[in-house]
Symmetry: C2
């Protein structure tokens, strides 16, 4: 299995990697091309460019300088914060960017060109599978403070989705509380799932009296469902709960959240009579995790 992965790495980096870079950059250096691409049609603050590309501020500044000198980019002040500068593509810059785009397409097409239709079909299917599974393997799940912007973003997305999916909407104030302080140690715990830095899911524990805890705020971004992220979040929470001496995990959920319900069932949660007066709940589950095996 390891041998297969290595063979794959070798072949793919040779073809895709090497060619890609040399091929796309052309007129600009690869760095410039990446920046040009990342600025996008609508422009972008320099600081968020830096975050997304992971570049040193000095280096990025120079790359932008070169692009400005070539008339591809303009740098203007940000309206709300005078320190921040916003990079925007000039019409020329947009043209250059679409050239890069076409080159990417051409590269992809050149790969497909020499295959028969049936082989192309198979290649695309397999590439989709590899891409999804590598993404799944790349997801990192880490504890985070509930006040962190990324955490807030996930929690907001969670509420928005509940509001959309529940028959009569969702109002957090009517639901059993789980606000920031309750999800922060020692009262509770919030974990965030990230895919290449982007938050794509969360889950929380709220420790109750004695050796119990409630699972809360389980959510995965719609675009990333089917990768097993929900299960990994749940496993992570169980392990952390066990490490804190928790013996019984409980949770309640709504009947419209069918994926969640089936996840809980398949993860060994048993449906029990209502143990809370959560107005949005239709199912109550419980699991004993005394000696939870590390099912990473």
């Amino acid at each position: 299995m390891v041998a297969q992965v290595r063979r794959f790495n070798r072949v793919v980096t040779q073809h895709v990697g090497a060619l890609n870079e040399r091929y796309l950059a052309r007129a600009h250096s690869l760095g410039e091309a990446r920046v040009l691409w990342e600025i996008g049609a609508e422009g972008c603050d320099v600081r968020s460019l830096r975050d997304r590309l992971g570049l040193d501020s000095g280096y990025l500044s120079r790359l932008l300088g070169a692009l400005v000198a070539n008339g591809l980019v303009t740098l203007g002040p940000n309206d709300s914060d005078g320190r921040v500068r916003t990079a925007r593509l000039t019409p020329q810059g947009l043209t250059e960017r679409s050239v890069l785009d076409e080159r990417s397409d051409a590269l992809a097409e050149s790969l497909l060109a020499s295959l028969r239709p049936e082989q192309r079909e198979r290649l695309c299917t397999a590439m989709g599978e590899v891409e999804r599974l590598i993404s799944a393997a790349t997801v990192a799940i880490t504890p985070i403070d509930p006040s962190d912007p990324q955490a807030q973003q996930c929690l907001r997305a969670y509420f928005t989705e509940l509001n959309r999916r529940f028959d009569r909407g969702f109002d957090p104030s009517l639901s059993i509380s789980a606000d920031d302080d309750e999800l922060r140690p020692p009262a509770g715990l919030l974990v965030l799932a990230r895919l290449r830095g982007k938050p794509i899911g969360c889950g929380a524990l709220k420790f109750t009296h004695g050796q119990g805890a409630d699972v809360k705020r389980m959510w995965v971004a719609e675009s990333e469902r089917g990768l097993g992220v929900g299960r990994r979040i749940l496993t992570e929470l169980e392990q952390r709960a066990a490490a804190s001496g928790v013996v019984t995990l409980r949770l309640e959920t709504n009947k419209t959240l069918v994926e969640a319900v089936s996840l809980y069932r398949s993860a060994g949660y048993a449906e029990v009579p209502a143990f809370s007066d959560e107005p949005y709940a239709h199912h109550w589950f419980e699991k004993h995790i005394v000696d939870a095996s590390p099912a990473t």
Copy 2:
């Protein structure tokens, strides 16, 4: 489809590419690591290193110098040619190389680690598929002079295989001739299939009287069968034959070459009565290619 390929490229280069290089090199630069790897346990001539890695002679010389200075490599003269130098790994160099090997394994394992067994299985299968199909797409088929060393290598391999597979061996001198001059324009034509520079197959035309040609020397390396290389060679020959005004292609083959026989049948060749006294043939085929559609 193009979008899928591009998404794949993005995800895979990010994960495999970036990580790979930074991760493996560590103590050495990436260039040194590549050279160390490529020398291999048995040593390697400097010139073939240069070919295989595609490096400038000056640059390679310096990289080797650094490795020699670190006691990982020794450079000795080549026995048969005093200009050529042979690089060999010292015991230390072998150790370093196995460290790189372990890192590659560790990298592959880290990718698999966070997946469930069933997902790993799927990932490996899909990776194998992608790897094979990308290899297939990377195969380049070009005309070549029969005296070229790579062409000779393929032709020798072809004879060796016939000798092994035919019931009573194979002696080229008893078979209908197709020697270098007959496979060189204007008498004939030889095409070579290469996978990343390595010759993996060949096929030839021998023009006969009027508007006919015989297909000869069809061979694909065993390690690369199942990629559709044989079919592509045949298609290439047909197109080149058509471009030379050939109307009828003929070929004869041996019953033990079952893959070849089924390739010819599925490519539209019709079995006809023996048209030659080739002692090694059991089947004679013919195809009219007047307006052969470009079935790339």
